[in-house]
Symmetry: C2
Subunit: 697 residues, 2 copies
């Protein structure tokens, strides 16, 4: 309660004059005032980060909810149009197809015209940024509008295009955090160190995931797994606090809008709680994980190669380079034609929205058993009470529909990922995984219609449990994360399958991580973004490799006793941002670094006699001679080298340093002499040599 008072006071700015209220008791009044003052100080001291994170969470939740709301309206309008347009097949087809075509070409055209950074999910770029690389303008707030508008259009196409919003939302959240951070820096004047900034952006990434799924735990863990290579426990709370604020606000809005009675999970399931699965079923769960792992490898392989094909093929690369909206429209037309419900679409439940896909796949009844004796006709209209009817077609049965859905969505998703527009790829992968699990679950429920009898008790098999495990395992394998298991529980509000789902996810990850780079790492490689590959500890050959073997030995050093003529020559002939400053040309003792821009400024500020092209007095001439030392003394700032490597440092230690401290470049000194430098480029090359040693000639 006291806190509330303190807050209220802080927020109005004008403290209630306590003496007026409590005039007669000056001592109590003074005590309370002191306490409030202390509390205020306390809150403000801890506070800054708090307020920032809370504001970020609430803001993102508002955006997420508003977007969902707007998209819901657009989708409803589309459904209404499709229903009311009459029975003419042409009209129906047009009303089905024109919508996504128009939305997608607008999404692609609009967002790409504002900034090319708005395409894709944004998570690969984010991962690169959070490892310390500066991507210019990537977090600029002007990209925000492009991404929001583009993403809304993409999502408004619903399950036709079949894309999600997790990745872009994470990008949006980080954008806002960067903007708020800049605002704060301007307002308070306190400059933040880079480390702190990265921590705040990591927390923002958690908010992005949490506000989409209303899942704070898995939001934090998933965003850490996807964007970071290590994590500091001391900054754990930031992510949790921001994600909780976001998830709470997001669900609160749903309650206020009377969609929900209280705060619950998004895709509530109703699995049997007493004996959710029988012991022998664990084996099938692990097998499902392995299947998902193999399929994820196939998916990642096809996806990467299709992207490469798109880039190398003359026709498509030209199309993508010149007229992106046209490409988007063409792709949307293909996807919409296939999902047209009276056509092929009826065999793949294309009338369901993505949320309905998930909700129906997690259904805890066995469809195969329910349709064994009675076969309901394919409904003319979507029945919201029995969503699973969509998955059943009298000619195809459940198995046919699910298999067809999987085969078609597999390549349709790959096609959709090539469209240059803001879109997330996690949700479709999650749904495909759920379908894989459902297929296995239905097969099992037919194979063991009485349930797997163990210990005399009969418990029918719930295919919904397998769908849950499949979703977690497949999405975990594609993104190579483990926290998708937790996400599955937070999304459904039930944790009864804790161990089997976790085992499936682990099995899927084992296979996927051994054979393919993850979805995000693959994209980083395809986009040629800088990244630091991982050294697998098993590579025993890597132990004796030391910095001396792979460092860049041709570094440009500036000696303090260098005549200005030579300095100019060096500055004009090289293009590095930072020079190593050494004591003298002979000793090469490293004393610091100097930034190129600052050096150039200092050089230009010197007397006119030093501008290039003019006669420079010879070094040995009796004329008084300027050297670099003079310029430095004249005000050009130098930076100390705070951390130095030795030529004997092992590649492992160097890798840890770069990875943990988000470094870009380190100088190597031997007995004080600058002998080389190591940057990501050298390190990457050294690691790739380790992994693929050059063939002996």
């Amino acid at each position: 309660m006291e806190e509330l008072v303190g807050l209220r006071e802080g927020s109005t700015g004008k403290p209630v004059s306590l003496p007026e209220l409590w005039g007669p008791c000056p001592r109590i009044c003074q005590g309370i005032r002191g306490g409030l003052e202390w509390l205020k100080q306390r809150l403000f001291r801890v506070g800054e980060d708090w307020y920032f994170l809370a504001a970020l969470g609430v803001l993102m939740a508002l955006i997420s909810y508003a977007m969902n709301f707007a998209i819901g309206r657009v989708v409803r309008a589309h459904q209404w149009l499709y229903r009311e347009v009459g029975d003419s097949h042409l009209l129906r087809y047009l009303s089905w197809a024109v919508y996504p075509v128009a939305l997608l070409s607008f999404s692609s055209g609009f967002s790409q015209s504002i900034t090319p950074f708005s395409g894709g999910s944004g998570l690969p770029e984010l991962k690169t940024m959070l490892s310390g690389v500066v991507l210019e303008n990537y977090l600029d707030i002007k990209n925000f509008g492009a991404k929001v508008a583009g993403l809304s259009c993409t999502l408004a196409t619903g399950s036709t295009i079949f894309l999600g919003k997790v990745g872009p939302f994470t990008h949006l959240s980080v954008m806002i955090a960067a903007y708020l951070g800049r605002v704060r820096t301007t307002a308070i004047g306190e400059s933040e160190n880079k480390r702190k900034e990265i921590e705040m952006l990591t927390a923002a990434a958690a908010v992005g995931v949490a506000t989409v799924f209303a899942a704070p735990f898995s939001g934090v863990l998933f965003s850490i797994e996807v964007t970071s290579s290590h994590f500091s426990v001391w900054n754990y709370w930031r992510g949790f606090f921001a994600a909780t604020c976001g998830a709470f606000t997001f669900r609160l809005l749903a309650v206020f809008n009377s969609e929900q009675e209280t705060i619950t999970s998004i895709y509530k399931t109703r699995f049997r709680v007493d004996v959710p699965f029988d012991l022998p079923e664990i084996f099938f769960f692990v097998a499902l994980g392995a299947i998902c792992g193999v399929l994820s490898c196939a998916y990642l392989f096809c996806q990467r190669n299709f992207l490469r094909f798109m880039k190398t093929n003359r026709f498509t690369s030209k199309l993508l380079a010149t007229s992106k909206p046209l490409y988007a429209a063409l792709a949307a037309l293909i996807l919409a034609s296939i999902t047209y419900p009276p056509g092929v679409g009826r065999f793949m439940a294309s009338r369901l929205s993505m949320g309905q896909h998930l909700a129906s796949l997690f259904d805890n009844n066995s469809w195969a058993l329910m349709t064994r004796n009675s076969s309901p006709p394919w409904p003319a209209e979507l029945d919201p009470q029995n969503l699973w009817f969509e998955w059943y077609h009298p000619r195809f049965t459940i198995f046919g529909t699910l298999a067809f859905f999987l085969v078609m969505k597999f390549w349709m998703l790959i096609l959709a990922t090539t469209i240059p527009m803001p879109a997330g790829y996690f949700m479709p992968i999650f749904i495909i995984g759920a379908a894989i699990g459902r297929l296995l679950g239905e097969a099992l429920s037919v194979a063991f219609p009485e349930g797997i009898v163990s210990g005399g008790v009969v418990n029918p098999i719930m295919p919904g449990g397998y769908a849950l495990a499949g979703a977690a395992a497949f999405s975990g394998a594609v993104t190579q994360t483990i926290s998708t298991a937790l996400l599955a529980f937070e999304l459904t509000g039930q944790i009864v399958h804790a161990l089997p789902v976790l085992m499936a996810v682990l099995a899927a990850n084992v296979i996927s991580q051994n054979f393919q780079p993850s979805f995000y790492n693959g994209t980083i490689m395809a986009k040629k973004l800088p990244y630091l590959p991982r050294i697998r500890s098993r590579k025993i050959g890597s132990y004796p490799v030391i910095v001396e073997h792979f460092m860049n030995t041709s570094i440009t050093t500036l000696a303090k006793d260098m005549p200005l003529e030579e300095v100019l020559k060096v500055v004009t002939s090289t293009d590095v941002t930072r020079y190593a400053l050494v004591e003298s040309a002979e000793s090469q003792i490293l004393v610091g670094t100097v930034e190129r821009t600052q050096l150039v400024q200092a050089l230009q500020a010197e007397p006119a006699s030093w501008t290039p092209g003019q006669q420079v007095p010879h070094r040995l001439a009796p004329v008084p001679q300027y050297c670099l030392q003079d310029i430095l003394a004249g005000g050009c700032p130098t930076q100390p080298v705070t951390l130095k490597l030795s030529p004997e440092t092992s590649i492992h230690q160097t890798h840890s340093l770069f990875d943990l401290l988000n470094l870009q470049l380190l100088f190597v000194t031997s007995q004080g002499r600058a002998v080389g430098s190591v940057s990501w480029v050298e390190l990457k090359k050294a690691i790739s040599t380790l992994i693929n040693p050059p063939a002996p000639k």
Copy 2:
């Protein structure tokens, strides 16, 4: 399936001769053989860590289960004795009290006689070890027996002494991992680097928690939060894999022993799923978190000061130093006398075991409402179907019992933590938290007997939900972790209270982290173990502090041109493990380090003329003179300095380096010259100066 074949083959060692089986198809046979060979290689390549982690998980689960089983038997024997001993109060009291007194004095005496390291939970020491400090013999396998036997006795006293097993189990698990690691090193001959070793031990800590609670997710997260300051995402899977193996085996044993029908969570709850709580209740959940935070501060404060009192008080310190079993027996007598059921014990549900305490507190009915009209008499015997009857006493009502339980257990737990024997302190704290939550929940259910009406729908309040939140919040506040929220869900198998519990845990953590060191950090400080304090980013004053201000400038360097006489003098007069080796006494250019033991060995191996006490030729004498250089050339190994600091490095960067890389000492060089060194000691002093700046004189 293929994997299974590979595994089976690997485990029997004799591959089934395929040609014999499939004689007619040589090609297929060869293909399959090739595939199996490849799979075998693959499995063995990835394998070593796998096998190791799986073995660790299974082993720990077996130990955990066997211990539970044995303890269960002992407890049942005690209960039988207590029941059958007759109605004489004296006999009953003796049968109640002698048991724990005997067990505790044995536990304390036995374990302390083998090793003093076996006392307490072991988590604080583990935290110190995992940050890179070497605690000699702490992970020695000979401690294992002492800890297992002692812990079993402690736990067999049941809820009388009220202690748990999480901490010691984590210690046991890490012990086994260290032992297995040594076995592996001997068997394979591959020496592991320290970093890898620490990663394996972190995974082992996760196994410890997971095999106690059968909760792999929170096992991993809790152990990371408690024992590490950062973690690497790339090594995440180790913890999850090992913890899953452990948790699965642990629950599997319960199924095989017919305790469970299938694999489920330990303390299953049956909360209402549709509307588990109403929106306005969120406020009470957060308030509960704040209350738990305040109480945790009180607990931590009292606990630390009582420990200090025990150490400074002449009588108790003497008792603890000389006769630990006697102290344990005295404490056990006090605790057992208070919990004697026909005495005061009946007002604090002392007939319940710790598991029954939790199970009854998580009950989803409101006891206050159930006993409002009818008051059941206090049952003479424990009724396993209605455990909550124990919490009700006609004279005291529910509120009185709960409050009395809290007040008594508060100081009884503090007393129990002072007994030097293997015991965990997490579980009692968890139960106390549940009681706090239950008390608030019951109060609310009386205040709003119809439930909080919002939106026209009436949902009665479930005090069990508050108990869950209270348990998570109080244990989270005392240990200053967030993953206790997840643990609460994994333990109960329900996640319907996800957001309110998380919010309560966050609120409790805010208060606790701002006012008190955590339970484990407090113990580290009390035991004077080395630790690295945290730099709070808000301390703006800390930014301009650089290494130069706090480094140790009086380092002992050995110059290569130092005559042996001086080397001997230095070696005999100083007691560091490692000397900085410089090029020459004048230049002081750092070239490497030399270990003291190796140097002493090399010195002793030199010609007899160099033994101390003999006449050493003068430096300027014409006699050929030996110097350190000669000894080094003669075979004394030197180590390169792989990482060097500058005097300009900031305290923040130094702190990160020490923290992330688990360093102990770094040399500081300026222009190549060794000018100082920084170790934990200097860093800690510098940080404490920052936090408590010296008063201006």
